[in-house]
Each structure stands twice: as C-alpha cells, then as structure tokens.
C-alpha cells in the first residue's frame, strides 16, 4: 500500500444478526482516503456510515473484506490505530460530569501525553476551539455546538494524524455547524490533518475534498464534489408551475427531459439541451393553460446529484 493512503477498505462487509435475521449494514465498500484530505462519507440515516467507521476503527468486527488505518489492520493492530487516530462518536460521548479542563486532561493522560506537553497543548486546543472561557464548565452544560468542539479538541490532544468524525454536526444549529467546519478547514490547512467525516447533510459535501455517497450499505459514487455533480447527465432547469400536479405529469416523459425532481412548489428538470427544451416545456405547459414562473438554469447541488444517482441505482437493480 502506498504511503500517502491514510484509510483504506477493500470489499468491506458487515452483517448483523438481528431478531429478523441477518442484516447487511455494509455491503462491499471499497474506499481510499489520502493523507491530508477531507473525505466525506455522505448518505442518509441507516446507509451504513457509522458501521463503516466503527469497523475501520476496530470497534466492530468485520464480516468480510479488509480495512486499515495508516497501514495498520483494523482487527489485528487495533491499539496501534487507537494511539494514532482521533475519533468523535455520534452521540456526545464525553463524561458530562467532568469539566472541560478535566475532560482534556483525562484524554491526554489516557493517550500518554506528558505533563509538559499537556501544559502546552491543552490551552492551545481550547483556544482553537473557542473554549478558553469555559474551562471550568461541566461538559454536560455546554451547548450542542460547544460540546462538539470540545469533543474535537479532546480527540486532537494526542496530535493524531487522522481523525474520524461520525456525524459531528448532527443536531447542531447552522451557525455552529459553519464554525465547526471552519475549524476543520483550518486544521487541514495548518496541520495537514487527514479528516474522515460522516454526515447526512448533503451541503457539507461541498466542504470535502472528496466524498463517498453511501446508500443502503453501498458506496454508489466517490469522487470530488465537482466530479460527482458531473455524473448526473444533462443540465438542470428550475421553474415554478402555476398548477403543480398536472405540470409534473406533462413534463414527465417529454422528449429530452431526463429526470424530474420536485422541490417544494418548484420543479427541477434534468434536460439534455437547456436552450431548446426550455421553449418546448414552456410551450407544452402553456397549451394546457399552465404558466411558469422564474424558469432558469441552475447548478445542480450535491442533493440533486445524490437523488439522481440513487434513482438510477435502484432502477438498475430493478432491471428497468
């Protein structure tokens, strides 16, 4: 394996035994995270993101395949990995009845950080996370955003080369979410830290250098956000029809309309040729007495791309 790969999985499979039989949570995932990049594992709840992360860390046994971090096997060299990575679990999982400072010290001691190093690093990390004024506050009394920042600071206290973050912004408000991502960006730029992050928020994909889209245990695409958006054929046309339901029926199946997505009161159409189809669509709707407001071409976002990719995958698996 080449030296610039931080995390690597090969045909990774994880099955769970449940009351209703075996469930395949991770189904043949192959991914590589390069050193110094921010890799986002993105997908809805239940897609298998958390399970993948836990298997990579050796918190769960894998059923089949390979997984390693920094060249250490997840199953055989668990403790070598644990000394070199930082991790934030999905739930806030720091002792809530210890203060911010005590939490930092605890994780520093556990990770064998010397007293002198602690003197230097802990204030630095607290400063970086904006928690300097809260050192004596109990962790359980912090706001959601601050809890996540404390968890991040604790996971960095042993200066790991890689951090794995499991939905670090779940349930965090937009302002704190943005702050948190700015922190991650600074870490990457300043320390060259490798960041592996799971998130259900499609817009957070834009913050990653590369993303893997996960759905129902499979990695359905992985590439840079820009390239993923290019995987979707056609261009995106947006408009608000005056009468939604019949409008959707009319445009579905029109020539050149590759895909129809609804977006609130608006319709999002993937078309092969914007200039040409624009006229045809407006004309076809006008013929039925439907007017269109604000028809324009927009850049597809990660969410449109994701929905389109999922649809195509399930179409394939159903043989359509």
């Amino acid at each position: 394996m080449s030296d610039d790969i931080a995390i690597c999985t090969q045909d990774l499979v994880k099955r769970f035994r449940t009351l209703r039989g075996m469930v395949t949570a991770v189904n043949g995932v192959t991914l590589q995270v390069r050193r110094g990049e921010t890799y986002g594992l993105i997908g809805p709840d239940g897609a298998g993101k958390t399970t993948t992360t836990r298997v990579i860390l050796g918190l769960l046994k894998r059923t089949a395949g390979e997984s390693s971090v920094l060249g250490y096997d997840s199953m055989r060299n668990t403790y070598e990995i644990r000394e070199r990575v930082g991790y934030i679990a999905q739930q806030f999982a720091l002792p809530a009845d210890l203060t911010v400072q005590e939490n930092m010290r605890f994780f520093a001691d556990i990770q064998d950080v010397s007293a002198e190093e602690q003197q230097r690093r802990i204030p630095e990390l607290l400063e970086f996370a904006g928690l300097t004024h809260f050192t004596k506050r109990l962790a359980g009394r912090l706001s959601g955003g601050m809890k996540k920042k404390l968890a991040l600071a604790c996971s960095l206290v042993h200066e790991p080369q890689v951090v794995l973050l499991d939905e670090p912004t779940l349930g965090v408000d937009p302002v704190s979410r943005r702050e948190f991502w700015n922190l991650l960006g600074n870490l990457r730029a300043e320390k060259g830290l490798t960041i592996f992050v799971c998130t259900p928020y499609m817009d957070e994909a834009e913050r990653c250098s590369r993303v893997g889209l996960m759905y129902q245990g499979r990695l359905i695409a992985h590439d840079s956000p820009k390239m993923i958006k290019r995987l979707v054929p056609g261009r995106l046309l947006e408009f608000t029809p005056s009468n939604f339901v019949p409008a959707r029926q009319i445009v579905t199946g029109m020539e050149g309309v590759l895909e129809v997505q609804t977006y609130g009161v608006m319709l999002h159409l993937f078309v092969d040729d914007v200039a040409r189809r624009r006229q045809e669509i407006a004309g076809a709707l006008a013929a039925q007495g439907i007017t269109c407001v604000g028809m324009r071409e927009i850049e597809p976002r990660m969410e449109e791309a994701f929905i389109s990719l999922i649809r195509r995958q399930s179409d394939q698996s159903h043989g359509v």
Binding site: F16, R54, L57, G58, L59, L60, K61, T78, Y79, R82, E83, V85, Y87, I88, A89, Q90, Q91, F92, A93, L94, P95, A96, D97, L98, E102, R105, F106, F107, D109, I110, Q111, D112, L138, A151
Partner: protein
C-alpha cells in the same frame, strides 16, 4: 530492549489506569448526592432493618379469657406477663370473644383458661388454650415458643411444689435440671446476630449496584465508545473503574460495623486484620458480580432491577434471615451462587464468635475461589468491541 518495552508498556498502562481512577473519583465526588446516598443509606437501612427485622417478637398484645378466676389461673397469667413476651391488656368472657379480638386486630395472641383450672392442676391434666395470629410468622414463632416455655416452667414449678409437699425430695435435689445457655449471645440479643450479617448484605448491595450502574451508564450514554477508541485496554478499564468502588464499599463496611458497635453495642471479637482482608475479597467478588450484571443489562433501569432481584435472593437464601439448613437442596444451591452466603459465616465467625481462620477456612476458600472466578468471567465477557 525487550525489558524496556515491557516496562514502558506497564508504565503507560499504569498511567491510563490512574487517569481512569482519577476520572472516576472526580465524577464520584462531583455527584455528591449519590455519594451521600451510598455512604449514609446503609447506616439508615441498618438502623431501620435492625429494629424491623428483630427476630423474636415480644410484648405481644394478648387477650385473656380466664374462665376459672382462681389463684392458679391468676399465677399463670402473671407468669405470661412477667416473661415480657405477652402484654395482657384485654380480658374477655369466652373463647369466641378471644377469636373476635384477634380477628379485629386488637390482640395477636389469646389465652383461654378453662374452668376449674386449680382442680385440673391438682389432678395433673390441666390444659390452656393458646390462640395465635398466624398471619405473622414471627409472632407465631415467638409466641408459641414463649408460651410453651412459660407453661413448662409453671408445670415444673408446680410439680416441684407437689413433690416437696409430699416431702420426698428437697428442692435442690431435682432429678433433672434443664438449663439452656445461649452461646455467643448471652443476652439473647438479636442485634449480635443481625448486625454483622446486615452489614455484609448492605455492602454487597453497594458493591454490586454501584459497579453495575457505573458501567451500564457509560454504555447507555455512549462514553464507552469514546473510551474504547483510545488505547485503554478492557482490563485497565475494569481496574480503573473498580478501584474507587472498592474504597467506597470498604468505607461503607467500616461505617456499618462501627455504627453497630457504638449504637447497638455489638462487640467486635475477632482479628481485625483477618477481617479486613476477607472483606476485601468479599467486596471484590461483589464488584465482579456487578460487572456480570452490567454485561447482561443494557439500561440503568435494567441494571437497577437486576440488582434488586439479586439482593432479594441474597436476603432470602444467604442465611441472613432464614437458616439455610432446612432449605431444599436446589434452593440452597441458588444461595451458593451469592458471595454473601459465605461471607455471612465469615463475618459472624469473626465479629460475633471471635474465631480465627481455623474455623472459617472452608468459607474463606470458597469465597476466594468465587472472587477469582467471577472476576475472570467478568473480564472475559467485558467487551473490547461494541458488537
């Protein structure tokens, strides 16, 4: 070089354990409400239980139907009252009224003395009817025992009186003189019997409950996941978590024993150091049991319920209240699974009887074996991973 890594590994390991212990202590001290509960509750419980679980019941409210109303019957009633077991505060006309008084809860024992009591006594076929409220086992037992003893004492006295009237024997020359000496408990004081066992039981509750709860809580709030991804080894986690609990349980035990000594006057007769070491083994076995409980329960509530069930079983089957000898073998075997069963004998042996290892080596051996086994089992089932 190899020695260096071993030494370095041990040093790192110790550092992690001490970090865990410091965390546990900090959390313990921070949650002072729980800490006070853990320390004060056993004292409070002992105080309440010691009085409530008093095994012999005295001052039983008693109703009398004396149909003779002669000297002999009055002597008998007097003897009942003087014994201290019966408080005669109601006189009624006949047997049916005695039963009604017990039914209505005005009395828990009734005595019916038939007519012509003196005549029957002279003839030697006097009978007294004793009615006891059977809904309370302890009243039944104590009342029955006391009444029997009093009747016998009276009968002996009468017999001696009769005999001496005939002039055949002198009082001092009774053919048989029965005297019972109650071993180790000369004042027949229940406390000597209850306090040590109670102390052991309360400490067991604390050891099992506290351990099970603290582990399950970490699992429930998810902190265990964050700990497992650090270099902490499962065994270190166990040691770090349990050490503070050992200390708390030991303090608890010391408090209860001291309190029993100062308040209830239960003397500590045996070897203190022997007691300390064996208590440690007992506490460790309790912690191991707590760990096992934590591996089979998922929520704090479940852990609490499991602990409660365990305690109920311990109370019933360890010989704390009910003697184990008459139990059916299967039930007794269940009792064998609880460390309290062995420690009961040890603590009663050392505290009450003041005996040394020679007399309790069997229980000691079993307890040590138990502690090792349960810890081993707990360490093996304690998961390194989440699945």
């Amino acid at each position: 070089m190899a020695r260096d890594t071993v030494f370095g590994g041990a040093r790192k390991s110790w550092k992690r354990v001490s970090a865990l212990m410091r965390k546990e202590f900090t959390q313990l001290l921070r949650d002072w409400r729980t800490l006070v509960m853990i320390l004060v509750a056993p004292l409070l419980e002992m105080f309440l239980l010691a009085y409530a679980v008093s095994l012999t019941v005295d001052h039983i409210p008693t109703v009398i139907a004396d149909l003779s109303l002669d000297t002999r019957s009055r002597d008998f009633v007097n003897a009942l009252e003087i014994s201290g077991f019966f408080d005669v505060d109601l006189y009624v006309a006949d047997e049916s009224e005695v039963i009604r008084a017990i039914d209505e809860g005005r009395a828990r024992a009734g005595v019916v003395i038939p007519p012509d009591f003196s005549v029957h006594i002279e003839r030697g076929d006097a009978q007294v009817l004793l009615l006891l409220d059977g809904s309370d086992a302890f009243t039944l037992q104590s009342g029955y025992g006391a009444a029997l003893a009093i009747a016998q004492a009276q009968a002996t006295e009468l017999m001696m009186e009769k005999i001496s009237r005939r002039g055949a024997f002198d009082i001092g020359q009774l053919p048989i003189s029965t005297s019972t000496r109650i071993l180790y408990n000369p004042d027949m004081d229940d406390m000597t019997f209850i306090i040590p066992a109670l102390a052991a039981m309360l400490v067991q509750v604390v050891a099992v409950g506290m351990t099970a709860m603290s582990v399950v809580r970490e699992r429930e709030v998810g902190t265990i996941e964050q700990l497992l991804v650090t270099p902490v080894r499962p065994l270190e986690l166990i040691v770090g978590k349990l050490t503070p609990n050992i200390l708390i349980a030991a303090i608890d035990l010391a408090c209860v024993i001291l309190f029993g000594n100062l308040w209830f006057g239960v003397a500590f007769k045996g070897d203190l150091w022997l007691f300390v070491w064996l208590s440690l083994v007992f506490i460790i076995s309790g912690l191991g049991l707590g760990l096992l409980v934590s591996t089979v329960t998922r929520t704090q509530k479940e852990a609490q319920q499991a602990t409660a069930v365990l305690m109920l079983v311990a109370m019933m089957l360890s010989g704390f209240i009910y003697p184990r000898a008459p139990m059916p073998p299967l039930v007794r075997a269940v009792g064998n699974l609880i460390p309290l069963t062995y420690f009961n004998n040890i603590i009663r042996g050392i505290v009450t009887k003041g005996v040394g290892l020679t007399f309790i080596w069997h229980d000691t051996l079993v307890l040590i074996g138990y502690a090792i086994l349960v810890m081993l089992l707990a360490a093996l089932t304690f998961k390194k991973r989440l699945d």
